[in-house]
Subunit: 444 residues, 2 copies
């Protein structure tokens, strides 16, 4: 039994090494004063999530989603030569001399409406009445619109000549069969929906809206709509802010009630939510404080990375792949609890991850340019993400002014802003009139 | 019985005049070559619809909707002086001389976490440990962050002085009670959601998304996904195009299957839909053709206005207030059946009406400016709405080039465009380098 012998030998030889504890791939090395750069951190997060698998969706449902297939037309558009006007289909020779002062009378041998098919060819010396969109019969070379006739029924008087092709839309002049209409990755805009329907497509392969679960942590938090009863309580604004921002970014959002600073409650809540989440977003509990429990508890639930990013606000950041089973882990982004920090972190990290899950490029908001109306001061050593009000003139030229202070708790100023102003780690001052990079914030 | 007598007399005196048939208010007079201008027609339609009544909506549901109330804060934000850092709350005099080479040791008499209340005042010569966001006790004047200490528990060694107010966020420095935060008519952006939640508001009065019912008419139409069986058949693209565009404009959309050119079927379908519609949109059947039945049938269902607008494409337009009861009539916009005409009519008339129903200003897309890369030719006498591709440089300066032909059936070109280029009735040519007005089309 040499076969068994060989097998046994192999088993003996292959000694099992101690299984290594699973962990996230190595994060990028610090590059700015011992801190990770915003771009490195974002690239790291993006490297750890994959676009959601697509499925066949109704065209209208797919509006705003990312196509996951190339769309090729299988038909010509128009599918047949058809009339661009209401009028009379003619042979050109029969009306070559027609004019206001030299009308031509011709017998009307039929009438073609949009949708009619199986048409007899047009005999010389005759015309047919034809409606817009109706197929042009063989033999007909032009359509004389009503305005060039007396609109006769049995005989029509024609006052104008027609060159070949006049008022005829040719088969395939819009789209020919085999044409690539849209590419994988294209966003499904209303105009694309119309085009796909026009070539007969009613379903497309598209990635769904990610299901994003939003959690606020902190024993000091009170649900809006309820009274503040204790001296140190504040309203939970972050779960509302992040949920609305995720919805505006295209996600389907579940806002979970706030969670207190209790390790078991945090673990239970997060575990309960895994089943319906493509992404978890929490705020609070990721800093150096003694009550920053998200940071201390999450490593028990999955693979995590807590770090400091060279940005202000938004320095403490956490990421995890949460869940027991390697194939079934849900990404989680943990942002700091100050409202402005939370919002800036959303723009810098959460929104790009949502867009990657949706398969919608560009993942990162395009960095646009605006000219400072006044000098803008910054703090060296970190990327500053200041709040700004951008104004564009009719030609599109943008100017920007900072709004309010730098404090990461100033929600009133954040609400008034319509842009984040990105001031690099080397920047101390941007003189008036010079350009800065801005992320324009969506309003809807 | 004088009472009866008087009543009888009044009845006799008040002679009933023949009741006038109800009709729409007088439409604007033609102003361009016997046709109505696009702006006049739009203003007329907007004058005949009113914003939908608002109701109380959950903050996150309200995202993207229009506020129907002024929002005033009833609380200060922050609601109390609180710490901006994790560290130790101190009296300034106790650490006035503290330095790296002159540390000060002080007893730690307690610890304050976020959410704690009812705090004893801080006695001179003592400190309390304090977390970010936790209330600062009476007597404490500054917070020395962990980095300036040895992080001691019973006694802490402090290496840095603190000026009054250092790392303390003052009550009301973000928002004071009584401040007007948002105005009626403001769009609810994610940042506003966060701000309102932060001051304890969980519901706002906002106008709902209009329910828009979309209908395509035409016996030649076939539902996408099914085979074309007859020679003159085409796929119904308009109901998909218009439904997706209405959805992108913020509406809740019901796409009704296509309706053939049968008067009874058209009447029945429209009557059936009134109950769930804030706006009906139909395409097709509004021109001069013998089978343009929408135009001939709709006057039986309500008050209508069929007209020709000095625009290309989109010349034939219909509007109605449909339904039997004056208080219960539903606006209906009837656009022409060529796909490009339908889309341009959507942008010119339907989208503004949807936005007025939502109460979201501006109703009309802002007219932006782009510079022609090549000379653009136009046809005098009508407003041309050509399809264009606009490119913006990093500073926002836009250039535009027309895409494809003028034919109102060219869906492929429409899908490639990202803007409509508005060329006025007086324009014959726009030289290269000169600006034109554009409407930028949304992609989502």
């Amino acid at each position: 039994m040499p076969l068994f012998g060989r097998r046994k030998k192999q088993t003996e030889v292959a000694e099992q090494p101690e299984p290594e504890a699973p962990r996230l791939p190595d994060p990028p090395a610090p590059s700015i004063n011992g801190l990770r750069s915003m771009q490195d951190h974002r690239d790291y997060l993006l490297s750890l999530v994959e676009p959601l698998p697509p499925f066949g969706q109704n065209l209208i449902e797919a509006q705003g989603l990312s196509l996951c297939e190339d769309i090729v037309s299988h038909i010509d558009l128009p599918g047949f030569d058809n009339s661009a006007m209401d009028g009379y289909a003619v042979r050109c020779a029969d009306v070559a001399e027609a004019a206001e002062d030299n009308p031509v009378d011709l017998p009307v041998v039929g009438e073609i409406a949009a949708g009619d098919g199986d048409l007899p060819p047009l005999a010389a010396g005759t015309v047919v009445k034809i409606m817009t969109g109706a197929p042009v019969p063989d033999g007909a070379e032009a359509v004389i619109p009503y305005e060039g006739t007396n609109r006769g029924s049995e005989t029509v008087r024609i006052f104008a000549p027609g060159q070949p092709g006049l008022n005829i839309r040719r088969r395939g002049e819009d789209v020919t069969a085999g044409t690539l209409l849209l590419n994988e990755g294209d966003l499904v805009a209303p105009r694309n929906v119309g085009l796909m329907a026009g070539v007969g497509i009613d379903k497309v392969l598209a990635r769904p809206r990610p299901r994003v679960v939003v959690i606020s942590t902190g024993s000091e938090l009170v649900q809006p709509g309820n009274p503040l009863t204790g001296g140190g309580q504040i309203y939970d604004s972050n779960s509302y802010l992040l949920a609305a921002a995720a919805k505006a970014a295209g996600a389907q959002v579940y806002r979970v009630g706030l969670v207190s600073d209790d390790p078991d409650e945090i673990k239970q809540t997060i575990s309960d939510q895994l089943v319906r989440a493509d992404l978890l977003v929490s705020s609070g509990g990721v800093s150096q404080g003694d009550y920053d429990l998200v940071k201390s508890v999450l490593p028990e639930l999955g693979l995590t990375d807590f770090t400091e990013v060279a940005m202000q606000p938004g320095k403490p950041q956490g990421f995890g792949l949460i869940g027991e089973h390697p194939d079934d882990r849900v990404p989680m982004i943990m942002v700091p609890g100050n409202p402005v920090s939370a919002f800036v972190s959303f723009e810098a990290f959460v929104r790009p991850v949502i867009r990657k899950l949706m398969g919608v490029e560009p993942y990162v908001r395009p960095s646009e340019r605006a000219f400072a109306t006044k000098a803008i001061r910054s703090v060296k050593g970190k990327l500053q993400l200041a709040r700004g009000i951008v104004t564009a003139d009719a030609g599109g030229r943008r100017t920007v002014e900072l709004v309010g202070g730098h404090g990461s708790h100033l929600m009133g100023d954040l609400a008034r802003a319509n842009a984040l102003v990105l001031l690099g780690p080397e920047t101390e001052v941007v003189p008036a009139g010079q350009p800065v990079a801005v992320w324009m914030l969506a309003d809807g």
